[in-house]
Point group: C2
Chain length 231, copies 2
């Protein structure tokens, strides 16, 4: 099956969690919005899907099935491609971790958009400075301590699974957006996981390919030096 991914074409954003699963699975897929007439196709799926419509990208088309919500798409693909064990308990634990990563990512977003997604960063910069100060002091340590503690050996679930890919992405994004705070807070276990995931052959090939969009200041993880630690 050739999957179709619909996501904003110029950012990693939440779509990147899905791209990493597709790449690790070796799945055949088209990143539709990056092709010709791509944005038109994205808008058509976003607005024209019958049945259960998507609220927002990323959206995955798998044959006739059209699904949305990042963690949902990742869990769906992982189940189909052997990137999560098949038993009820493991599936629930994987989704639990994936949703905790999603919560963390949502908090990263709100460091630069604490008041409204409808306003520019520059129009909520004072509030962004305040939110980021709390985020660096309380939330990054809380989440990273949690994930460090949650690791079972070299992986989150004991053996490699899709949630390791998502943790890799969040750690990479944090280092991009908050390089000083990240260096201060990251733990050896988490650095190790990030390195191992980045060295998986398919992930390494992906990261070195033009398919990997560089981090930038339109995405989820933005490098605004004033939001990072001082000094």
């Amino acid at each position: 099956m050739r999957y179709e991914l619909y996501y904003w074409p110029t950012i990693q954003g939440r779509g990147e969690f899905v791209r990493l699963v597709l790449e690790e699975a070796g799945a055949e897929y088209v990143d539709v919005a990056r092709g010709p007439d791509g944005m038109k196709a994205l808008m058509s799926v976003l607005k024209g899907t019958k049945g259960v419509p998507p609220f927002a990208p990323p959206i995955l088309k798998a044959g006739e099935l059209v699904i949305a919500q990042t963690a949902n798409i990742c869990a769906f693909l992982a189940a189909r491609h052997g990137l999560v064990p098949g038993d009820e308990g493991s599936r629930a634990h994987a989704l639990q971790l994936q949703l905790t990563i999603a919560d963390f990512a949502a908090e990263v977003h709100d460091t630069h958009h604490p008041i409204s997604t409808g306003l520019y960063y520059e129009d909520q910069k004072t509030e962004a400075l305040a939110r980021s100060r709390h985020f660096r002091a309380e939330r990054i340590p809380k989440f990273l301590t949690y994930f460090d503690h949650a690791m079972q050996g070299e992986h989150l679930l004991g053996a490699f699974s899709y949630v390791d890919l998502s943790l890799f992405q969040v750690l990479s994004g944090l280092e991009y957006a908050f390089p000083k705070a990240y260096a201060r807070i990251v733990t050896p276990k988490l650095s190790g996981l990030r390195e191992r995931v980045g060295e998986r052959p398919r992930i390494r090939a992906y990261l070195e390919s033009p398919r990997r969009i560089p981090f930038n200041e339109k995405g989820l993880f933005r490098r605004y030096p004033e939001l990072d630690d001082e000094g």
Copy 2:
């Protein structure tokens, strides 16, 4: 099986989405933290769970299995108790809707805590006023239009499922927290769904019982009149 739910004992909060599924399922469960030594038991599960630890309540204990994350728990219970169809597509669509409801609920939370969960509301009130203004003008209409449009007949998934319970809860919470904005924005289809869910025999019995904690200003949905529409 007798389930154990671990959640903050004095608020509906995110635990309420789980309580509604347990009640509709007619499942046997203990709301542990509301019993004797309940907070001690909650802390013990929160800090002492081996394997995959929970990040935060709600937490469900199902035999040996301990799982967290609201949408994950709801989907898990629904699958066990016939509150969602069994096919891959329906499961994915249900979780997609549930996660969109969770995103909406997280945005509700941030109307009163836009800067930090570690600060009191009073210490971030100026920012809360700004965030709520955007939330009422842009986000409530966007989410409610979406859910109105997503309804298939009388339910979100065509037939009754657990996501209807969660939409009921969000609509009830919105009416509590933002009564004026809610009255202005809610649609007949959504009011109808809310009414039908509230009239389901097990849900009605639950809502009339002391097990239903009233909404209050410690929870997710808080009535701060200054955050609602004027006039």
